[in-house]
């Protein structure tokens, strides 16, 4: 009986159980729970990866997931130590009382940023599918969500530390721009959606860092934007259910647009018109780039799925997709209303200007006519309809021919060049570290030559002794 039960508990179920436990742990308060959550998530990916057909490749591909968990364990350890270090009044900026909060914040930010693809070590992970066959394209969306959860839940640990917060903000902004460019550059809608979840999560984390709104509001705003994309991605795996018919694509277009706009609006207000120095214009512009691109993609790329079936399946009039689109549509504005209720205020010109990037992106995508592309598997229309459509006057295209491909190529090239540069720097540092460590490895082969190390140790000690006096 037990053996049969254990046999039924295969890698798929193991991973699913671990993921649920991990996400529940991430939702709990406390660094230890967050670290445990990430550890369980990494374990879930490993369980799925080792059971995959291409197990060797999948295990290698997702092995980096232990790094964020490790960083968070480190932060949890530092937090546990910090409680026992006395902070004398007036001396909080010196010694352990100053170092430990920075280390803790560094650990939390490392974990969150790496999951949000904001560190050069694992940035392109959203280009590849996950390890579990049945939901491969969807699984990577769990990771930016986990990254946002880490940064949101442990905001107390890193937002009050100005040095770490500034570094995190710069990296998040770069990630938002790069991921939006990547989403724009990718032709596959599924891949674009995965990158959009990273853009939304990075913008959400920036909102947490800016403390423009209360934490619960930033969570709702992020849910409205990123949750909608995750649902659409799940719908894509079930035969593009979120793009079937004529109503659903429109609903999702509006919901995605509104969700993105609601998430970015308070952030842009804080970045452009909040208290602080004079670099607002540059930061506002940099933040506006991903917002505009996201709005463009959300409106422009959600198109009605081509119907490949001769016989239509009978569906309920209101499906889960309708309900989710409606929820996504109202969640953002409701969160903003809650934010206003809890004290969020915006200046008059600032609030309008901050709406412009998403309005421009979405409005342009909506207003500019689309060039028709020949669909391969669309059910062939009748001969008469085909002649009629050929003879009908085409709408005038205001963009020059090939402009879209050129823009996508530019976005792809920018992303590739930046990631290649990052990769080169990381590899160079790795080679440097290897060259430093390799003598140690040579001396640690287990042969008698290791005992040379003993003599080296004694000699160093003999040299150090006079300095100790």
């Amino acid at each position: 009986m037990l053996r049969r039960l254990l046999q039924g508990f295969d890698a798929r179920r193991q991973g699913a159980t671990l993921t649920v436990l991990g996400l529940a742990s991430l939702a709990a308060r406390g660094l230890v729970f967050s670290a445990l959550g990430l550890e369980l998530l990494a374990l879930a990916f490993w369980c799925w990866a080792r059971a995959a057909d291409d197990a060797v490749e999948q295990v290698r591909r997702w092995s980096w997931l232990r790094r964020p968990a490790q960083a968070l364990w480190f932060a949890a350890g530092v937090h546990a130590i910090a409680a026992s270090v006395p902070a004398w009044p007036g001396f909080a900026h010196m010694g352990a009382a100053a170092l430990l909060p920075r280390l803790e914040a560094g650990g939390v930010v490392w974990a969150g940023l790496e999951l949000l693809a904001a560190l050069p070590l694992s940035r392109p992970y959203s280009d590849v599918s996950g390890p579990l066959l049945v939901m491969r394209p969807w699984l990577p969306t769990l990771l930016p969500a986990a990254g946002f959860a880490v940064l949101w839940r442990n905001a107390d640990a890193w937002v009050p530390v100005p040095e770490i917060r500034r570094i995190a903000e710069a990296l998040l902004l770069l990630t938002a721009v790069l991921s939006a460019l990547r989403a724009f550059g990718r032709r596959q809608w599924i891949a674009s959606l995965r990158w959009l979840t990273i853009t939304d999560s990075a913008l959400g984390a920036l909102l947490v860092a800016s403390a423009a709104v209360r934490p619960q509001v930033s969570l709702l705003l992020w849910l409205g934007a990123c949750g909608g994309r995750a649902f659409m991605l799940a719908g894509e795996l079930r035969g593009a259910t979120s793009r079937r018919g004529t109503t659903l694509p429109r609903m999702w277009r509006a919901a995605s647009w509104v969700g993105s706009a609601a998430l970015s609006w308070p952030l842009l207000i804080r970045v452009g018109f909040g208290p602080g120095g004079g670099a607002h214009a540059v930061r506002f512009f940099l933040t506006a780039v991903p917002v505009t691109l996201t709005a463009w993609i959300a409106v422009r790329r959600i198109v009605k799925a081509p119907e490949r079936r001769q016989m239509m399946r009978r569906d309920a009039a209101v499906t889960l997709s309708h309900f989710s689109a409606l929820l996504t549509l109202v969640l953002g504005p409701l969160a903003l209303l809650l934010g206003w209720w809890l004290g969020f205020e915006a200046s008059w010109p600032g609030s309008v200007i901050s709406l412009l990037p998403s309005a421009l992106g979405g409005g342009a995508a909506f207003a500019l006519p689309k060039r028709k592309r020949a669909a391969k598997h669309v059910v062939q229309p009748t001969a008469g309809a085909a002649i009629a459509s050929e003879s009908a006057p085409r709408p005038r295209d205001p963009l020059p021919r090939g402009f879209g491909a050129l823009a996508r190529g530019l976005a792809r090239g920018t992303f590739r060049n930046v990631t290649a540069l990052e990769r080169w720097i990381v590899d160079a540092l790795g080679r440097l570290a290897t060259s430093v460590i390799s003598p140690l490895r040579d001396l640690h082969t287990g042969d008698a030559q290791e005992y040379l190390l003993f003599l080296v140790g004694l000699s160093v000690l003999a040299l150090v002794l006079p300095f100790l006096r």
Binding site: V32, A55, V59, W73, V85, P86, A96, I437, R469
Partner: protein, 400 residues
């Protein structure tokens, strides 16, 4: 002596007893061709080693030499075991040199102060009658053998050699007996050193440098080490660094029970980890099917992994408490550089242990698992330290 006191005594010696039982089980399977009495004969030498591992025996100059002699004797006993004999030779050379240097340092101090009692020596030196050059060189020299015995880098090679080369029943007790002796040696040499600030600064400086090197070099070694036995050796050397860190910071901030807990944990964790290491595959660059132990007896494998994880200070294990206490002591005494080094070492150890677990379980193998079972005695040797460690976890949790 009432029953409660007797029980407390038994619990104090329990970990060493558990390690001795595990060693006896491994010995019986290692020498099963011989008669039982003959096979278990080395227990006569393992018994004092286990007693030393409790950390409750007083040590003089001769005590440390006796421990080294016992370890070398048990390693060199079987002339057909080439690897063991090589280990014995290496240990003799390393420990012999370090003991000679330390004796020379200690005798110089006696010469300068005119008294062999360490507590009196600080008082005499504090009078400032003698030039400080001689005794300030003699003091670190007198501590050298403790540093070598604790096995922190750059003296960490002998630990990996013994854990790889010696038989599994002899290696853990030999390693822990030497490390415990090393910690006791330094503790004895530093008794009352606070009375003389210059000597205090010298000893703290030396211990700080050694602990820092032990953690940093140990962390770097763990990154490149592929053989599981040697990896356990490096983890044990990090534990030696922990003892150094506590000796350095502990006199002002530490819990006096730390060293008792450290020796108890060390003897259990090294026993479990060293037995498990014999069954693990050498790490490669890619994922491969798991080793026979984890395919055939995954629960026993996990029991062994608990001991390795505890050595690395994985959260939730008794070892994590030891790491945390040292980190707290370093933070409260303001040794921030050492605290960072300790943090790096902990990260490297934690990552290495998790990687080792994944390598051991590996990717699924379509071929059926091996038909031959791992002997029950070897599995019991994995379970005994694991159960004792679980008991430590439970007792620690109940105390909190």
């Amino acid at each position: 002596m009432n029953a409660a006191t007797m029980l407390a005594q038994l619990l104090a010696y329990g970990p060493a007893l558990a390690a001795l039982v595990a060693a006896a089980l491994l010995l019986s399977v290692d020498r099963r061709g011989h008669g039982l009495l003959y096979a278990l004969a080395p227990i006569v030498v393992l018994l004092p080693l286990a007693a030393i591992s409790t950390g409750r025996l007083p040590f003089g100059h001769a005590g440390a030499a006796l421990v080294v002699a016992l370890v070398v004797a048990i390693l060199a006993r079987d002339r057909d075991e080439l690897l063991q004999n090589e280990c014995a030779l290496k240990l003799l050379w390393v420990m012999g040199v370090s003991l000679a240097l330390s004796w020379a340092g200690a005798d110089l101090l006696v010469l300068v102060t005119g008294t062999p009692r360490v507590l009196e020596q600080w008082g005499v030196l504090g009078l400032g009658i003698d030039a400080p050059y001689l005794w300030s060189v003699a003091l670190p020299l007198s501590m050298l053998t403790g540093l070598v015995m604790l096995g922190g880098a750059p003296f960490h090679f002998w630990l990996a050699d013994v854990l790889q080369g010696a038989r599994p029943w002899a290696a853990p007790l030999a390693v822990v007996a030497l490390q415990t002796t090393g910690a006791a040696w330094i503790g004895a040499r530093m008794e009352g050193v606070e009375m003389l600030p210059t000597a205090n600064a010298i000893s703290i400086g030396l211990l700080g440098v050694c602990a820092g090197i032990a953690w940093l070099a140990g962390a770097a070694t763990l990154l490149v080490q592929r053989r599981p036995e040697r990896r356990v050796g490096t983890l044990v050397s990090l534990q030696g660094g922990l003892a150094l860190g506590m000796l350095l910071a502990g006199r002002r901030a530490a819990d006096p029970t730390w060293f008792t807990a450290w020796t108890a944990h060390q003897v259990l964790a090294v026993t479990g980890a060293s037995v498990l290491a014999r069954f693990l595959p050498v790490s490669g660059g890619t994922a491969r099917p798991g080793g026979a132990l984890f395919r055939r007896h995954p629960a026993a494998g996990l029991a062994g992994w608990l001991a390795t994880a505890s050595l690395a200070g994985v959260p939730g294990t008794p070892g994590a408490w030891l790491w945390m206490r040292v980190a707290r002591a370093l933070a409260t005494t303001g040794h921030l550089g050492l605290l960072l080094a300790l943090g790096l070492a902990w990260l490297a150890a934690f990552a290495a242990v998790m990687r080792q677990a994944r390598d051991a379980i590996g990717v699924p193998d379509p071929t059926p698992p091996p038909t031959r079972v791992v002997p029950w005695t070897a599995r019991a040797a994995l379970w005994i330290p694991a159960l004792a460690l679980i008991a430590l976890i439970v007792s620690g949790a109940s105390k909190r």
